[in-house]
């Protein structure tokens, strides 16, 4: 444990690659497992090929370098740990540390190394290994890989049936495959297969940053444009030692909270729609648009594309615009309040929300859930509070939690966050710092690493940027909150009615493309 105490970094702090503690794998595995047991959370666990590693000692026999990023909420510190693998197999960490399960599947798929003893080793996104000729499942060609083409957990028995949903869905949503094992209407098990939108973002970022890089982040998950772009900008600024002006920090915070307002409002409306409660569904659908239009006032794009750039923001606001934003915010928030009051005061709605899709706190903790889903289980977990960066170092937003872990709790947390985000935006608009909105952002420091965490509206976004000897990205790891939370949805469906799945799904509202990368 002392290994972790010796070395820690802050959110958005640059550190030399050579300074990262590197240990033998058994030690690595032990530290990760024990620190997670002691209250740390596995924020990222990823591999990096030896050929991309520079500036640190590595033996030629090394097959893959693994990095783990651990976070401790109470302490507010991030720890990075590295190890080298010398064979294409290694003893899996997952049996002792559940939080690693999806990360180890991802590592197996990306780099063709097999975590032996992983309880359910399946592909994550159904693509070829990044290392030619080495595949964890022994597949040799693209033709052998079809999304969803894998084993699914099966329940057999009297009156047990299987329901397969997707990847093509009835609504205009993203593709994903859901496999239910049901006993009558009761769901015994749900397994989720994604990867239909895999675009290969992580490999495409290697060698950057270039003109194209920022656009990958703006479209990584279309509804989290500001969140992912902010994490990227903070990573680049950390690596370039760029000091962002205070006014830019404030505008970025406003954009991030507007994104949260728009999505939370839309979600509350969609939750109402899923139980057939039309008034709130219709009103919130419109109000979501009003919040998006406020983002458009800032930068011309309803989703905030083009607003953030390394060094600051691309658009300044004048007094007239600030006044207009405040006016619209007040009007829209008043309407949202009325629309959600309808929701909370209708007993038939509450009857649907309460006790549906319950996730016990111990499960949420074990899976390392983040964001709204975690806070709805009573976990006090919010990057803006625990690992503040940018404007959040100066303006604190209280963490909104609920206790029951069901659909009601997840919608309640959304409503609390809407109120607190609106208060935050009002305060920021009232006291915008003066000065420039952008600073020049130079080249990146070579052989360095920066970890940035941002509380997107879904939850914790983690970016890890590692540069090579020339200051180019040697590896860029992206962890969308959905990566942690999809398993939470599967657990929430246990012993629920299958007819409640759409409601549970909407209460998590996870990203498919953010997961698929």
């Amino acid at each position: 444990m002392s290994l972790l105490d010796d070395f820690h970094v802050k959110n958005g702090q640059k550190t030399g690659l050579s300074g990262i503690p590197t240990v033998r794998f058994d030690e690595f595995s032990r530290v990760v497992t024990e620190s997670v047991r002691a209250g740390h959370r596995l924020v990222a666990l990823f591999g990096m090929p030896r050929s991309a590693v520079s500036g640190i000692d590595s033996e030629p026999a090394e097959v893959l370098r693994l990095f783990a990023v651990l976070a401790h909420e109470a302490v507010g510190a991030l720890h990075i740990l590295g190890t080298g693998l010398f064979q294409a197999t290694y003893p899996a960490i997952t049996p002792a540390c559940t939080q690693a399960h999806m990360f180890e599947r991802e590592i197996a798929e990306q780099w063709g190394v097999v975590p032996e003893g992983h309880p359910w080793l399946k592909p994550v996104r159904f693509h070829m290994s990044h290392v030619p000729g080495r595949d964890a499942w022994g597949r040799t060609s693209r033709a052998e890989i079809a999304p969803g083409g894998c084993d699914f957990f099966r329940v057999e028995g009297e009156e047990v049936h299987e329901v397969a949903v997707g990847p093509v869905h009835a609504g205009i949503i993203e593709p994903g495959h859901f496999r239910f094992q049901c006993h009558g209407e009761q769901v015994l098990h749900l397994e989720i297969a994604l990867g239909y939108q895999h675009r290969g973002v992580e490999p495409a970022l290697v060698g950057g940053p270039d003109k194209r890089t920022i656009h990958y982040f703006q479209t990584l998950a279309g509804d989290t444009t500001v969140g992912h772009t902010l994490a990227y900008c903070e990573a680049v600024e950390a690596l370039a030692d760029c000091r962002v002006p205070a006014r830019a920090h404030a505008l970025r915070g406003i954009a991030l909270e507007l994104e949260r307002l728009a999505n939370h409002t839309g979600d509350l409306g969609a939750l109402a729609g899923d139980v057939g409660y039309l008034p709130t569904a219709s009103y919130c659908g419109r109000l979501r648009g009003d919040f998006l239009n406020m983002t458009a006032l800032l930068c011309g794009s309803r989703f905030g594309r083009g607003l953030l750039q390394p060094g600051g923001v691309a658009f300044d606001v004048d007094d007239a615009l600030v006044a207009e934003l405040r006016r619209r915010l007040d009007l829209t928030l008043r309407d949202v309040e009325q629309a959600t009051d309808l929701l909370w005061n209708t007993s038939s709605v509450r009857a649907r929300f309460e006790n549906t899709g319950h996730v016990p706190p111990e499960i949420a903790e074990a899976l390392g859930l983040v964001g709204v889903a975690a806070r709805a289980c009573g976990l006090n977990r919010d990057v803006r509070h625990d690992f503040p960066s940018g404007i959040y170092r100066f303006a604190h937003i209280p963490v909104s939690t609920a206790e029951t872990g069901d659909v009601f709790a997840r919608s309640l947390v959304r409503w609390l966050e809407i109120q607190r985000s609106a208060t935050f935006i009002r305060e920021q608009l009232a006291s915008l710092p003066s000065g420039p909105v952008s600073a020049r952002c130079g080249g990146l420091a070579p052989n360095s690493v920066a970890v940035t965490l941002v509380e997107g509206w879904r939850g914790e976004i983690c970016h890890v940027a590692i540069t090579d000897g020339t200051g180019r990205f040697a590896r860029y790891k992206i962890v969308d909150p959905s990566f942690h939370n999809w398993t939470g949805l599967a657990m929430a469906m246990r012993n629920q009615q299958i007819s409640d799945f759409p409601l549970c799904n909407k209460s998590f509202n996870l990203s498919y493309c953010g997961f698929d990368l």
Binding site: A170, Y277, Y283, S499, D500
Partner: protein
């Protein structure tokens, strides 16, 4: 069987066949108004039916004749039910002792073929929808029969036309509780049988939550048009049972028919209001609603026995 057909009965039947889709339009407009939207045109279902009639149908290779028979038989059954139901003080087009059993089982036949068609596709969704539909209708059927039994007991007639001929202002004056309880049951049955909120959500796109809609997902073109139109006629026929109680219509033929039609439109708006002010029930709770509806009529029946 009484073979004399009055002009008013013919006109009533004609009205049912023509105006049935308008009820759906009224429900949708009411819901839109509550949601602060303008909503679809009042005659949207007519446009949809015209569009579907022009289309061809696509049939899955796994389905057989049962799948194709469903929509046609279902529509025919709904039209027969519309011919049986008395309206606006006039008897139904067809009437005989015990026709209320035929009335109920017209819908039974309609459902039976829809369910078989759904199972014919072999889809797990449609199988789930079929199982839900059968479960809930098994509870809605006794509720409806209990309601009719209470009316049979009160009016001492065994045909629908006879029953409704026996309902007048006098009955409302002497036993209003009986009628209110029966109307309560019939409204619950109406909502359940026509897949309206709080039992089913006709607007949802979520297959996993659907009951009726999911069973007809594989139908297209004219077949789907038959299903939509059959559903509208069914809604009209079942609403007519309620409006016949609310507006007994012994005001002469024209006034009776007119007040009956007005009452139907108001009923459609009431359905729209119910759908707007409450969410759908959890599927597990639907049986409680239906059994509660049946209990109302059981009490009504007891009142008539006393």
């Amino acid at each position: 069987m009484n073979t004399t057909i009055s002009m008013q009965s013919l006109i009533n039947f004609f009205l049912a066949v023509v105006f049935a889709p308008l009820l759906i339009g009224l429900i949708n407009r009411t819901k839109a108004w509550f949601a602060g939207r303008r909503g679809q045109p009042l005659f949207q279902l007519y446009y949809d039916l015209a569009k579907l009639a022009r289309k061809g149908a696509v049939y899955s290779r796994t389905t057989g004749w049962l799948f194709r028979a469903g929509p046609a038989v279902g529509l025919a059954a709904a039209i027969v039910a519309a011919a049986l139901v008395p309206f606006g003080g006039a008897p139904g087009l067809i009437r005989f002792d015990g026709d209320l059993v035929l009335f109920a089982y017209c819908f039974g036949l309609m459902r039976f073929l829809t369910v078989l068609g759904a199972l014919d596709t072999g889809s797990s969704f449609e199988g789930m929808g079929a199982s839900r539909e059968v479960t809930f209708s098994a509870l809605a059927e006794p509720a409806m029969f209990l309601a009719l039994a209470a009316l049979v007991r009160r009016t001492e007639s065994l045909s629908l036309s006879g029953i409704y001929a026996g309902i007048d202002v006098e009955v409302w004056r002497t036993s209003p509780a009986l009628l209110l309880l029966v109307i309560g049951t019939l409204v619950v049955v109406l909502l359940a049988e026509n897949s309206r909120i709080p039992v089913d959500d006709p607007n949802t796109h979520l297959e996993l939550t659907m009951i009726h809609e999911v069973m007809v997902l594989d139908h297209g073109g004219p077949d789907f048009g038959f299903i939509l139109y059959g559903g509208a006629v069914k809604l009209w026929a079942m609403s007519a049972l309620i409006s016949g109680l609310i507006v007994p219509g012994h005001f002469g033929p024209w006034c009776g028919t007119l007040s009956g039609v007005l009452c139907m439109f108001v009923l459609a708006m009431v359905v729209g209001i119910i759908e707007s002010v409450m969410a759908r029930l959890r599927l597990l709770r639907v049986p409680q609603l239906l059994v509660g509806g049946a209990a109302l009529s059981a009490v009504a029946l007891m009142i008539t026995l006393s």
